[in-house]
Each structure stands twice: as C-alpha cells, then as structure tokens.
Symmetry: C2
Subunit: 354 residues, 2 copies
C-alpha cells in the first residue's frame, strides 16, 4: 500500500512517499481504508523534530507514519472486535484516552498518559490503510462525510473543549478571539456562533476582516498597535469582554486580552506558538480582575463525540483549503508552512494529480 513515512527529522525531503507493507491487525484492531487524511502543524513539528516530550509520555519513535487525522471505511476487523463491522464509515480519534490513566480518572482524558498518539508514537493516517485498536475509531453518522470528519475532528474538538469547558461562557457573552483566521480560530468561530456567543475577532490584516465577518464574527478589530484595547472595548459592555481565547501565544496579544477583560472574566491560553514564553500577568491583575486564566490542551472523547454529532446534524462546516493526492505530501507541507492556508489541507490516498 501507499503511505508517507519519515526515517529521520528534517525538511520536506525527509517525507518518503512509497510502497509499504499492508498493516497487520491484532485481535482487537480495526483496519480502515483511508479516504481522507489531514496535514497539520503537528506533522510539521514532528518532521522538524520540534516536539517536546510531555511528562508521562513516551519519546517519539522512528520511522513514523505522519498524519493525526484519518477517516474512511472499515476493511477488516480482528476476531475480538465488537464495536465495528466491515463497511462502517469511521474517523480515527486524534486524542484517544487511556481509561486507566490517573488523569483520565480525574476527568482529563485529553491529558491522558501512557497512551499511543497517532502520528506521534503510533503510525498515523497518511496511508491507504491504517490499523489501530478499536477504541481509536468512532463511527460516522450518515450526514457526516469522511472528508469533513477528517477536517473537523482535531480543530473542532479542541475548540469544543475550550468553549464548552474551559471558557465557561454563557449565551450572549462577548468573547475576544485572538488568532481567529487559523484553523483553530475558524472552528472556534463556527462553534461560538452555535452557542450564541458574540465574538470580537482581532486581526493584523485588514484583508481578513470580510473573511472573519463571513465566518460569524460579530465584530472584527483590525489591530494598529494604538488604542487597540479601546477599539475592542467599544464592542464589549461597559465592564469589558466576558472571555478571551488566545491562539497566538504572543505576549502583546495576551496583554491586550488582560486589558479588556471584565472583572471575573476568563482568559483561555491555548497556544505556545510564541515559544512558550511568559504570560504578561501580574498579581495586581489577578486581584483587580479576579481573573480566571485557564490553559487548554487538546480534547476529551466527549468533545470529539459532540463534534461528530454536530457534523452529522449539518450544524458545522469545516473549512477545507484544498485536497491533494497523498503523493503530493511535500507540496502539502510546504503549503501549510507558508502560513497562507485558511482551513484544513486534506490528502486523498487514492487520488491522482488532476
């Protein structure tokens, strides 16, 4: 079968598209014929060797088959598999949970330890066939296409966790969204609109204003570096915004969020893009605002289930930037690295260059 693997870290030249053995299946495994698989920033980080190993997690092995997301049809099942049958349409879980992990028991399945992560420690989805334990797959409802499921699962389930759990926002609340144009921002806008939130998106690019309004932002502030806080506050109530979500990791943006937050408001920090540096927070801010600052990482199985349900109901619509054949993997990585992508890049493992 065709697949993409890497044997050591480096540039796009390290991506090996070629013929590899069909994955074998154990008694509890489900093998899926993949019809849509994603390219994400995690693949780029893995390829470059930039991923930090988290506490309780295994180091990253080589060779690795990249790809966090995969959707397709069940092609074979192991003899002890009970939840799936050949022909089922499924999506592969981007954040499986180890039920025995102390963190899962505490309600943090998203931070689960001692579990294999597709595309990181377990062969990922960038292949024609993928075999994984049955607990790594979820059935698709009839209304959910395989490509939409592969495109939505990662970003929407993370955004779902942030909105439904970390932010604690209520109907009608105002939310400042930083990094609204990216994949996470776009998913957050879509879900926030469903939840009845009023999103104030900020962007450095005047060109993106119309795009963000079309994606459901109630207001878009084009940042000028001067009076930005006042510009955001003009769209909030007298006290400030009820919540803020940061996908930038940029200290200037985090400071803006703290400056416009209402007392008792919540700031969700969901990115280390700036290198994981200092949050510009003081103890005076903590007391002045009674701030709630909450970190966010990944999603629980419940978030993933909710997103697939919403997709089945036709309530969400993930942005797909383009679909490329699996053989164009180098092009796909280069495109994602360019920073010009809006929405997900998908790969078709059976497609030819059109």
């Amino acid at each position: 079968m065709k697949a993409v693997r890497i044997f050591d870290h480096g540039g796009v030249d390290k991506l090996v598209y070629g013929d590899f053995p069909m994955p074998e299946i154990g008694p509890r495994d489900v093998r899926v014929q993949v019809t849509a698989t994603g390219v994400s920033l995690w693949d780029i980080k893995y390829r470059r060797g930039e991923l930090p190993v988290l506490p309780g997690r295994p180091a990253f092995p080589m060779p690795m088959q990249l790809g966090r997301d995969a959707a397709g049809r069940v092609e074979a099942v192991g003899r002890d598999v009970t939840a799936f049958a050949v022909g089922d349409r499924v999506v592969g879980l981007v954040h499986p949970a180890n039920p025995a992990s102390a963190l899962t028991v505490r309600g943090f399945g998203n931070l689960s330890t001692e579990i294999e992560y597709p595309g990181h420690t377990l062969f990922g989805g960038n292949a024609q066939f993928v075999a994984r334990p049955e607990s790594y797959w979820m059935k698709l409802p009839s209304g959910a296409s395989e490509s939409a499921a592969a495109a939505a699962l990662w970003s929407y389930s993370t955004a779902h966790r942030i909105l439904a759990d970390r932010l604690g926002a209520h109907l009608g609340d105002s939310v400042l969204l930083i990094g609204a144009s990216g994949g996470m921002g776009s998913a957050t806008l879509d879900l926030a609109e469903l939840m009845g939130l009023r999103v104030i998106a900020v962007t450095r690019s005047a060109q993106k204003k119309a795009f963000l309004e079309a994606r459901g932002a109630a207001a878009v502030v084009v940042l000028s570096g001067k009076d930005d806080a006042a510009a955001v506050r003009a769209y909030a109530d007298q006290l400030g915004v009820d919540g803020a979500i940061d996908y930038s990791g940029d200290p200037t943006m985090l400071k803006l969020a703290i400056d416009v937050l209402r007392p008792g408001g919540t700031l969700v920090v969901a990115a280390v893009e700036g290198g994981g540096g200092p949050v510009p927070l003081t103890t005076r801010d903590c007391l002045r605002l009674e701030i709630n600052l909450r970190g966010a990482r990944a999603s629980t199985l419940n978030d993933q289930r909710c997103v697939i349900d919403l997709l089945g109901q036709g309530k969400i619509e993930p942005a797909i930037h383009t679909v490329l054949p699996l053989s164009a993997i180098g092009e796909a990585h280069t495109l994602l690295e360019s920073g010009t992508v809006s929405g997900r890049i998908l790969l078709d493992p059976w497609g030819e260059r059109s």
Copy 2:
C-alpha cells in the same frame, strides 16, 4: 463618644483618640454600641496613604474613622428600619454589596462598585458607637460572641470565598498553602479542615511548624530554597497538588506553586503583598498543566453569612492575638506592623488599660 480618627496620612502619631460627636442616624440607619472592633492591615495602609483607588470606586476621604470590623448591640434604629430592633447583637459587614452594581448582578458582589466601604469611604468601627444603613449589618446567632464575630468576619469570609468558589477543591484534595501563618492563612487552615481538604503548608520559619500543625495543616514543609518542590510533592499524589493558594505575592512562591501543581489543578492568587508584580507563568505552563489560575479579592454577602453561621455552630475558632482598649490604638498599629502577630488584634471601645 470616644473614637479614633485620622485627619491626614502618616505614622501612628496621626491616630487621634478622643471625643467626637455621637453619630446621627437617618431613617434607614442602625446605630450600634460597639463592643469589639478590629485592627487590620487595611487600617495600616489607609493610615499610611498606600491604598490604590479601584475602578468604579470613590477616592478616600478625610477625616476618616478607621476599622473595617465592628460588632456590638443595636442601640437605636431609624424609623424605616425593618430588619433590626434595639438590643439585637450584630456584626458590621466588611464587604457590603451594591445590589444595582453591574458586577453584583453578574454574581460578583465582592467587586461591587458605587458602594461605601467602612473604614475607607465611610466611618469605620473604631468607635464607641457606629451608625450605618441597615444593609451593612448582620445579626449574630446566639452561639457567636461579638469578639469572635469581629475577629472572624474579614479573614474567614475571604478564605471562604477562596475555598468554596475560587479553588473548586473537593473532599480529600491536597492544597498547597503559601502564607499559612498570617490571619488569612490561619482562617484558611480552619475552614479547609472543615471541608475535608489536606493542606500542605509551607513556611520559612522552622519555629512555626508546630503552630501550623496545631492549626490543622496535614503537612508542613519548612522551605530551604533547595528541593522545595520535591519536599512539597512528597505529600501530594503522584500527579502533584490539586490546588494552591498564595497569600504572599512572592514570585518565588508562585513559581513553587506552579511547579508542584497537578495537570488541571488550580492556583488561587490572593495577594499583592509583593507589590503586585509579575506572576512567573509561561504559555508552556498553561498548556502543560491546563492550569486554572484564579484571582481572589474579598468576599460576597453569602460568604459572610456562611462564616457567621459556622461561628454560631461553634465550628470555627478565630485566633485572637490580644484585646487592647481603644485608647491604645497606636500600640495596636505598631504591634500589627511588627509582623509578630498571630491572629486578630481587637479593640475594646469601653475598656480600660488593665
């Protein structure tokens, strides 16, 4: 009547103990004969002129009668007063709420704007008689002494808000307590034990170990500046502590709390004692821990009600360092400034030097 007032900011020589007119009462006012009134760090800050004016709050007027806390017996009521009668035993609310404030409506009565604060913008409790609107008083249950009520209200109600609302701790959870020896720390230890929490107190002073254990700490770590995180972790479960409360404002202590917190744990920042400086938090910490960092300031009416109920039931026991006659106000301030006080300093407006 005898009272303590200041006419400008400065040292203890600015405290004027003397005869002042009996306070008049309006139709909705309740006048109380004060039998116990406290001296707090807020009085010191007010006297020195170190209080920042918060947004939505009036500036601090002169002259001022100091004293946040006051308890005693109702001596006269205005003609429209319905909730109190002469002879009722009461305690004066340290944090009244303006019901019309947008923050009260949002559930943050503790951050209420456009309200007068006793000892800051309204004459405080350091007097033989105090008149305030009826909404500024709360009746005492028979089991609660006036001195215990005056001693407990401020620190216990703030600690109650932190434990019951901001920390979100559950029965059996481990909680790191920084600044455990002070008035707030002592109140927090008392309430945390009632809530079934396991408090790990840290102190720089080996002498305080026995005192903190006697006050209910499950474990006391004497800080050495070396391997402090490991010493704390030895008393937590494998993941770290469930929560941490900081009353120090010290960046080194805040860093210690972040280092020992479990993923998904909560850090409550409840002090600006270090001058309101930076919290040593990075975006990497935010994601690594899915941290919940929450500011805390003062208490709601509900916290105050709960504390008085607990006092009435004999479930809490505020530490009273000493009781001095009101005429010894300068001595009381000097004693509090010395940093050697454990528990509240109370003043008796009717007492003589024994």
